[in-house]
Symmetry: D2
Subunit: 298 residues, 4 copies
Amino acid sequence: MQVGLIGLGKMGHNLALNMMDHGHQVVAYDLHKAAVDAVAKDGATPASSVSDLVSKLTPPRIVWLMVPHGKPVDNLIDQLKPLLQSGDIIIEGGNSHYKDSIRHAEDLKKLGIHFFDVGTSGGMEGARHGACYMIGGDPEVFKTIEPLFRDTAVPNGYVYTGRAGSGHFAKMVHNGIEYGMMAAIGEGFEVLEKGPFDYNFAEIARCWSNGSVIRGWLMELAEKSFREDPRLDKIKGVVHASGEGQWTVQEALEVEAAVPVIATSVMMRYRSMQDDSFSGKVQAALRNEFGGHAVEHA
Amino acid sequence: MQVGLIGLGKMGHNLALNMMDHGHQVVAYDLHKAAVDAVAKDGATPASSVSDLVSKLTPPRIVWLMVPHGKPVDNLIDQLKPLLQSGDIIIEGGNSHYKDSIRHAEDLKKLGIHFFDVGTSGGMEGARHGACYMIGGDPEVFKTIEPLFRDTAVPNGYVYTGRAGSGHFAKMVHNGIEYGMMAAIGEGFEVLEKGPFDYNFAEIARCWSNGSVIRGWLMELAEKSFREDPRLDKIKGVVHASGEGQWTVQEALEVEAAVPVIATSVMMRYRSMQDDSFSGKVQAALRNEFGGHAVEHA
Amino acid sequence: MQVGLIGLGKMGHNLALNMMDHGHQVVAYDLHKAAVDAVAKDGATPASSVSDLVSKLTPPRIVWLMVPHGKPVDNLIDQLKPLLQSGDIIIEGGNSHYKDSIRHAEDLKKLGIHFFDVGTSGGMEGARHGACYMIGGDPEVFKTIEPLFRDTAVPNGYVYTGRAGSGHFAKMVHNGIEYGMMAAIGEGFEVLEKGPFDYNFAEIARCWSNGSVIRGWLMELAEKSFREDPRLDKIKGVVHASGEGQWTVQEALEVEAAVPVIATSVMMRYRSMQDDSFSGKVQAALRNEFGGHAVEHA
Amino acid sequence: MQVGLIGLGKMGHNLALNMMDHGHQVVAYDLHKAAVDAVAKDGATPASSVSDLVSKLTPPRIVWLMVPHGKPVDNLIDQLKPLLQSGDIIIEGGNSHYKDSIRHAEDLKKLGIHFFDVGTSGGMEGARHGACYMIGGDPEVFKTIEPLFRDTAVPNGYVYTGRAGSGHFAKMVHNGIEYGMMAAIGEGFEVLEKGPFDYNFAEIARCWSNGSVIRGWLMELAEKSFREDPRLDKIKGVVHASGEGQWTVQEALEVEAAVPVIATSVMMRYRSMQDDSFSGKVQAALRNEFGGHAVEHA
């Protein structure tokens, strides 16, 4: 199939290669010309602008966005609206909030443009050699673009999730689970590290990656990390949060779902971003007041 | 090799079959004669008592215990002590506390008996077709019994962890991580279930099992669970805790490791075992006192 | 001073009495005529409608809203806008979200109407005999209405917090702290209740209310609760959440503040509202799959 | 009454003064002679050793220990055993683990010596001018020493809790609640500090100390702390944990009580003691592996 791909960052570039591996034709555009040139060298048709990209596609057009959520997605959809026509399709493959996707779908529907919100997992490696997709949008139109997902996903690695918004909602929750799992893994290794034995963490992670109940990709990546830096001496334990974990907790607050583990994992990321915490200062001050416990000075 | 296996429950029986598949000779004993008969039918040499089992083994003997931790392990080791001789080996494959294993190792060392504490993961399926082992004990003696682990584990699925106790410590932490990961998965599906979309959970779990960041055995099992009971209507959400999760938190408290996610996952299991909570009663009573908020009556 | 009070529920009625105790004149209105009659009997001037209430006030008018947040507040402000004039004052004493209050303040400012968002704590008892106020709005105009707060608060029990929104923000955080403190108290009594000793909870709470580090109003209320129902046998541990605790966590998510304790206390309230949890069902199903652990049937 | 007081630290010295204020006679001993001299100057009878102290008491003797838990308490009781006689009384006023107190009580009972475990709250201020006591031990003997507690506690500030161990158990839980309440307060101020408004924290804490639902001694101390250091710029947010919070969680683990808020508050103290966390390092490494997210270097 022919796809107009906008956004050629870490994920987008790999996805373009993946699509071309499977015989799809990619027209590619990015704000950075160097990114367009790079993917053109690999076989994609370069576009010099959004309108140039659209003009190089045969209707019904498929435009796949692989850009950061929020403003970038909003701006591109605004640009695409006058350029596309009824029957065209926008695939939004970023980590957008599902409410934004519902809004985009309703907005584009008035113009007859089909919108699909596609949560994409598997990291850069997945984008290149087999991703995992959660796809929301019109079920009939989905069938016409299903080959794109089938070809670029790992076997069994995509799911049609229902109406618009459901793809990004599923991806949001996926990341919430990911936050919790990562925190559990991190905490476990911290207990190993502080405990009475002297473990080879890479060997432990290797073992746990094979046959254990907690085997999975994250544990395999843990092994890889420990092979490169056995005690992680070079890495600071600052864990940034990109949005979906926070949104999962916000959604849980709205629907009154009890997610204390995911919420705590998000909170610990925030804590990791601080050198010192105001919360801790208050408690240290209180201990000093009532018990005369010495405070450490900042 | 020749192994005396004591404990033929869900795990032990499968392990016996697994060992015999790989050409090892199993002398088997269990308090329940029916369990001995069953494994004898599959090719093991039946033993009628612990001493009978020992008498049927050629020194240096290997006795593998696959029984519940605590009293059962203690009693068996007490029985074995006068029956075994210097150079014999005890493999303790249960979910024992690592401090018990250190005690057993020191105790047996005085008699020249080698003790290995072996954390075993992978469930019944793993015991049957490829387990995951974390093994603590003497490094030189380990080499003599390594074939047993290599043959019955999945490829790359065992690790020598260091001195006695380190195997069960690693298994304890493994289960702590497991508690946290399971809670994260459960909470994620709860958000999906309470959210605005109508998901097919089995399909979501199938997709997440292929190519996603959170892929792994637990997600594959989630798919299986949802295939059997799509909304888990038949299952009550009571999640028992078998010990290691609790021990992980206790150990974290001793070494002052911050494990809020694992601790919370343990606490939520306790909460799940209660129909109502005293903690909740107190809070409901307080709200009634200060705000006149109606309480629900028990 | 003369105050038009709208909303004569548990809090509003008590506040009216409190104001009249201190010589203020109250013109009172509520959707329920019976509530107006009741407070009129106690000395307030009854109003039959919002416009009737406004007509009975002498400019510059002071209208104090004591109604639920959201729609009720929005509707009343919409009704008041054409009835009030430049220089009039609206005091919004409900548990509104601070962003709504900022919106109202900006909206009313265009008409020259002064808006104060007033977080009110202390429960019904406080409204009647001495409340606690956090007050946001114009600092100069505040001075003109300060006597109202000074008279109806406990000594030292009000604070001017800054520009509009800051009063309700402070009240939101106050309630977030309240959720955490209540959960800590509830959990503590649960440990007492499950532990090896047979305590008289009312006596414990009485002792802790006098001289201990954790003394305070909540502990005094705990004593009162236990005096009425020594083991809280009559109360179900369902703890509803009225908004501000949830908002505190949402705000923390926005500003990346680490509030794991408050977040967990909110999550436990949600858990308390469920008879069974989907999260627990998933975990019970997983344990059954990998370990053959029996599930309890729903 | 006549009391032999051993341990003249921050708490013990104040308690001696408190007892003497109420007409009790204090024989005082401490390992540090300067501490003995100081309290002797205030009117206590100095003792030069444990045996000297015992010899200066008239049977039935009352010996009150105010020393750190663990070894110091064990050692003193070992020293006292041969010096005391049947009918004498030991009051153990430290923060000991309740299981130690049960052990001491049983041990001393064989010698006819009565043991009381007394949890003491209220900080240094309380020890000086009115403490809060939770007292476990023999109910009949308790009556004979009750005046000591009545006189040195705030009014209504002591409670007889039951058999030996129950006093320290109650104090343990008290501190667990304290940890949770302090964390909630700390987190609340962190949200205020990170939020959009510029609060005067001392004024907020002053307001919340008067009439609010969350009023109490801790909030009063928070006001005091903020008066001294308005943004706590001089204090590092390192919050040490002295034992009872940890024990509360351990006890909850043993009795399967769900205390996620208290557990999380303990975990956050551990986190505060670390400059960086191994848990965070692992998670940062994982994010780098799957998403190419940059790590910060240690």
